[in-house]
Amino acid sequence: MNVKTSLRAVEKKTYMSYHQDGLVDIFVGVYVLLFSLGIFLRTVEDFSTWFVIPAIFPAVMVPIWVSVKKRITMPRIGYVKIGARSATKLMAVFIGLTVAGLGTFMVFSFASSQGWVLTVRNLIISNGMIIIGITAIAISSLFAYTMGLNRLYAYGLLALALFLAGQFIALQFEYILLTIGLAVIINGFILLIGFIRKYPLQQGDQTNVEKSL
């Protein structure tokens, strides 16, 4: 193992240790559940603005996320400011995904009714569940690789399996989202309980030594 590889391993371990509390899973699970709730509302109550809830979720949840991290994670494992390189990598993934999402939206919204664009659009519509499943595993794998969180691969596989099942045995989209959201939230809570047990709040000894520095 060369020096760069081992430094990267330390960097990765540091990053992973900050996400072992399961909070990221709980928040992602809630986000997926909100999508499914929005679709349920559209089906039952003709709720045309079903996408509003998931759209405003990040703005509402970021302050809550920060507060929960401060109350649960930091007092147990301490505080670390990750270097700019990791943050830049993650930001690049976000920007890439946003551009890809906007590109797809443009294809669907403004594509002319002729030519290859229409063929692609029809292909996507007729194999919707398979495309969504592949997209889900691609996105989760991208985040898993960038963040070093292997459990995101498992979530991606679960999503792929459920969407493939949806394509072939006609499972409804909102039920698939509900199942994925619940599975991710449950795993998040299991991780959170394990984290709280593994890292009880520290008092006394460490604090006194720290003060003497």
Partner: protein, 112 residues
């Protein structure tokens, strides 16, 4: 650099000690970390960590910043410019020492 065992003399002994090397490596890959985080990551006792941090601070390799976060005292630790430079130099020197070694030892090359 010449192929000379005296290259080992260039190795910074302050960093070379295993616990301090772990501390320096950990701080090298982050912007800053607090006492508790280092303690958890490196599995050290508070006393042990504190003693090594004091040595690194004395050498001006580590900066200990006392601050208040939400009215609570907080101790942030980070590598100084000198510390970061010393760590990079340590890497280079160690690499050089090993690259100066012959590829195979005499025992390996002996024919049966």
């Amino acid at each position: 650099m010449s192929k000379n065992p005296s290259n080992l003399k260039n190795i910074d002994r302050l960093i070379h000690e295993p616990t301090r090397l772990m501390i320096m490596t950990q701080l090298y890959v982050v912007e800053s970390a607090d006492f508790l985080f280092l303690q958890n990551q490196l599995q050290l006792t508070p006393g042990n960590l504190s003693a090594h941090l004091s040595k690194l601070e004395e050498a001006d390799y580590v900066e200990i910043v006392k601050e208040f976060i939400e009215r609570k005292p907080h101790t942030a630790l980070k590598l100084t410019k000198k510390g970061r430079h010393a760590f990079q130099e340590y890497q280079q020197n160690l690499k050089q020492v090993f690259s100066d070694f012959p590829k195979k030892s005499r025992k390996d090359t002996r024919t049966p």
